[in-house]
Amino acid sequence: MSTQTINLTLKVWRQNGPDDKGRLDTYHAKNISKDMSFLEMLDVVNEGLSKKNQDPIAFDSDCREGICGMCGAMVNGHAHGPESETTLCQLHMRHFKDGDTLYIEPFRARAFKIIKDLVIDRSAFDQIIQAGGFISVNTGGAPDANATPVSLEKSSLAMDAAACIGCGACVASCPNASAMLFVSAKVSHLALLPQGQPEATRRSLNMICEMDHLGFGNCSNERECEAACPKGISIQNIARLNREFIKSSLFSTPSV
């Protein structure tokens, strides 16, 4: 590992609460090791601010291994920064050059309120899952796990879709702030499995209704979501969601 360091100018979105207007403030990140992760770079800036008795930049993170989905910000207009299939916590400073200026802003969408600085409220995603992103089985009554074979192909596709970490990069990257990639990942995961079949109809209708209700936009095939997704979730899932939705619309009415 190299010990090279770089100096950066940061333009960071500071906003003191949902009702504050917000502004871009400038910070100088000096002697940043190229081996640092992006969030460690922010930690270093925050230590400096704290020592000067200034309010550190608020940002969310937890696992810092790219799996919990808690972190995320726009870096120079890219959700989670410029590297493909990488969460912000797994982005390293070796991808930046000495003297770069970085614009760091929160994920923005009508359905994601800003709590403070880069911290946003993504509870709308939880509400979409609550509308139908589950299989209704109670603990205790399950048949033997091998009672129902599932083809390797379908279970692999289900796993591809289930890899979604719920970070919201898809919404932040979409010009319509649509949550279609998120919703389609969950609908696909469950629709591809035999266990998900009994509720397939209500699930897609209810989840889409809830998505609309929460103020997410529609899909206009921009494909920005797929490009920004740190887990490489394919927009083929959106095609599958559309098929499920059409099937469901023909045979029932939404309950939301």
Binding site: M1, G17, S33, D35, M36, S37, L39, E40, V44, E47, L49, S50, K51, N53, Q54, D55, P56, D60, D62, C63, R64, E65, I67, C68, M70, H92, R94, K116, D121, S123, F125, D126, I129, Q130, G133, F134, I135, S136, V137, N138, T139, G140, A142, P143, A145, N146, P149, V150, S151, L152, S155, A158, M159, A162, A163, I165, G166, H189, L193, Q195
Partner: protein, 636 residues
């Protein structure tokens, strides 16, 4: 205080059945009247909340993150064990039980571990029904692999993301109950204190992390599922926000803490590369199947790896353990890496790393084969370090990974405070002195889905249950005390940041209470830690407004508790004058540097009771083995 583990009598294999029959039931109409608080939304918390709500209880659940789906169970990679014996390779409930109790170096309860093995099969059935996309074979049935040196293939997995998929399964069951109105979800809330009324757990005080307000929540019972405390070491593989405060506050209110010093150190992690580092990343231990571990023979040799000739490379595991070689268990591999680095043979910038080299495996099997086996891990390594493991050896070093210790619970998972239950990593119960791979997910879901739904009813129906009123003075006092504690932290207005203190604490714990411990070192740490804690309370700086979203304050509250926990861990490690599993006291080793147990004097669970700020009382829960023979683990 008298400890009673409430282990049912009778033959091992019949204890749980017998116990379930003897447990009191709660009438369905009465379940609606009971409120239960669950703290934490990982595997244990989410599964507990979902299954209790399915039964008809009214549940309130709390998490510190923005969504219940973020809990750190999500980061588990390898898999989940079960005694299904689908591969027909000789597995059974008894064998899973035996492997787990032996792996824990005979410091866990037989009855708990046997129950865990029995329940393991129900977990897999239920998770498949919930839509967890486990790996499958071409014929459509579930795939298994061997893991962590087990002789049978009993591990179920979902690529390298088993924890994620299981957590999302439990989260979906929880979400369904939230939608049905049976569970009330509170996100971005952190438990600040436990509230006792007439010595029973009746509620909690939480801090709303967005507004800074303190809130009172009452219930008939409180279930903690708040995970482990590996972050006492500052650097660990735990998530940034994982902390001990819920457990610690309960300890101060009378819940005993068991085996606090039992910490699992995982051998294959990406090494520390700078003082700015925030956490450590685990690399699957499967890498040791093909990688060879080495360091330069000469201490202080700073040449690049390619300039060190074969004859000057020290393959220390192969030399010392000719039959197991690079595949020795986690604790042995970790200790040997430390030994080499302490002797000056460590590599990399810091000197705290050893090589894990795939050169010979690539020459033998070809790059393609190695890529098929480990491609994703090599990619992850390159992403983090910027180095290509196909061309240069990986650098690895052990890191804190899991805490076997936790709040003491009886067979019903109830702590020494009536009505306070503790599940998952937060309790101490099933892993003894060392946890086997793929056992943590199993325990979290066993506790939440299949144990607590039975045992909590016995408590609720076994004691008179008053109406809970949060205007009771106990709530008022606890809230007031929490407010005062926060005010004291703010009022210090010193010079050092909370991360600075946390790092200093981590250094003490890692140096003296990490992979190897000895009396002199522990005594030294017991001098240093109180000094650090004193400075913390005199020189801490918490910037920002306490009555708002303030992450510095969140960390300060957690680190204050870690400072106290650290001291208890030191006492615990000092008291146990034997080595067992993860706990290596350097004074007690076999000639081959294996952990030397002392079953005559230390075959017990160390159960610490808080008395006041000066005094601790140690209770000993004897471990009785009626079904297994205690033996020395050997890896020669």
């Amino acid at each position: 205080m008298q400890l009673n583990a409430h282990i049912p009598s009778g033959p091992l294999s019949e204890k749980w059945d017998k116990h379930r029959f003897e447990l009191k039931l709660v009438n369905p109409a009465n379940k609606r009247k009971y409120e239960i608080i669950v703290v934490g939304t990982g595997l244990a918390g989410s599964s507990a909340a979902a299954s209790l709500a399915e039964l008809g209880y009214h549940v309130k659940i709390f998490c510190i993150q923005d969504s219940p789906r973020r809990a750190h169970s999500i980061a588990a990679q390898g898999g989940i064990n079960a005694a299904k014996n689908y591969p027909n390779d000789g597995d059974s409930i008894k064998r899973l039980f035996y492997d787990t109790i032996k792996g824990g170096d005979f410091r866990a309860r037989e009855a708990n571990v046997y129950r865990l093995s029995q329940i393991s099969n129900n977990i897999i059935d239920h998770c498949v029904a919930l839509g967890v996309p486990f790996a499958r074979e071409y014929g459509g049935l579930l795939a298994n692999r061997s893991f962590g040196g087990a002789q049978v293939s009993r591990t179920f997995y979902a690529r390298g993301q088993t924890g994620q998929q299981l957590l999302l399964g439990a989260y979906s069951a929880l979400s369904r109950q939230i939608a049905l109105g049976n569970v009330e979800m509170f996100t971005r809330r952190e438990m600040m204190d436990l509230v006792l009324i007439n010595d029973h757990a009746r509620g909690i005080i939480v801090r709303n992390l967005v507004t800074g307000e303190l809130e009172r929540h009452g219930a008939h019972s409180v279930v903690l599922a708040t995970g482990g405390y590996g972050n006492v070491f500052f650097l660990s593989t735990n998530a940034m926000n994982s902390n001990v405060s819920a457990s610690w506050r309960s300890y101060l209110k009378g819940a005993c803490f068991a085996n606090p010093s039992f910490t699992q150190i995982h051998p294959t992690c990406i090494p520390v590369h700078g003082t700015y580092q925030s956490k450590l990343t685990l690399m699957s231990e499967s890498l040791r199947n093909d990688g060879r571990v080495w360091v330069p023979k000469e201490p202080g040799d700073k040449r690049a790896f390619q300039d060190i000739p074969e004859s000057e490379r020290h393959y220390y595991l192969e030399a010392k353990y000719p039959s197991f070689g690079n595949l020795v268990p986690r604790d042995v591999a970790s200790r040997n890496a430390k030994e080499q680095c302490d002797a000056g043979r460590g590599v990399g910038e810091t000197g705290y790393a050893v090589y894990l080299d795939f050169r010979d495996a690539i020459a033998r099997d070809g790059k393609n084969t190695i890529e098929k086996k480990y491609g994703n891990l090599f990619q992850m390594y390159e992403r983090i370090t910027g180095e290509n493991p196909y061309e240069s050896p990986m650098k690895i070093y052990p890191a804190v990974h899991y805490t076997m210790g936790g709040l003491w619970v009886d067979y019903n998972l109830m702590s020494t405070i009536p009505g306070l239950f503790v599940l998952g990593e937060a309790n101490f119960s099933d892993h003894g002195a060392n946890r086997l791979g793929a056992s943590a997910l199993m325990q979290g879901l066993a506790d939440g889905f299949f144990v607590i739904p039975y045992t909590i009813g016995n408590y609720l129906n076994g004691h008179s249950q008053p109406n809970i009123d949060t205007s009771h003075s106990a709530f008022k006092d606890a809230e007031h005390e929490t407010g005062e504690r926060i005010n004291r932290l703010i009022a210090i207005d010193g010079k050092r940041t909370v991360d600075d203190f946390h790092k200093a604490l981590g250094n003490i714990m890692w140096e003296y209470c990490g992979m190897a411990r000895n009396e002199a070192g522990l005594e030294t740490a017991l001098d240093k830690l109180p000094e650090l804690r004193e400075e913390f309370w005199e020189n801490l700086k918490v910037p920002g407004d306490p009555a708002s979203f303030n992450q510095s304050l969140e960390r300060a509250i957690r680190v204050a508790d870690f400072m106290e926990l650290g001291e208890l861990m030191l006492h615990d490690a000092l008291d146990r004058e034997e080595s067992c599993g993860c706990h290596l006291r350097e004074e007690y080793q076999t000639d081959e540097n294996e952990a030397l147990r002392n079953d005559d004097e230390y075959c017990y669970v160390s159960v610490w009771e808080h008395q006041d700020d000066e005094n601790l009382q140690l209770h000993k829960e004897p471990l009785v083995f009626e079904n297994v023979q205690l033996s020395q683990r050997s890896y020669k």
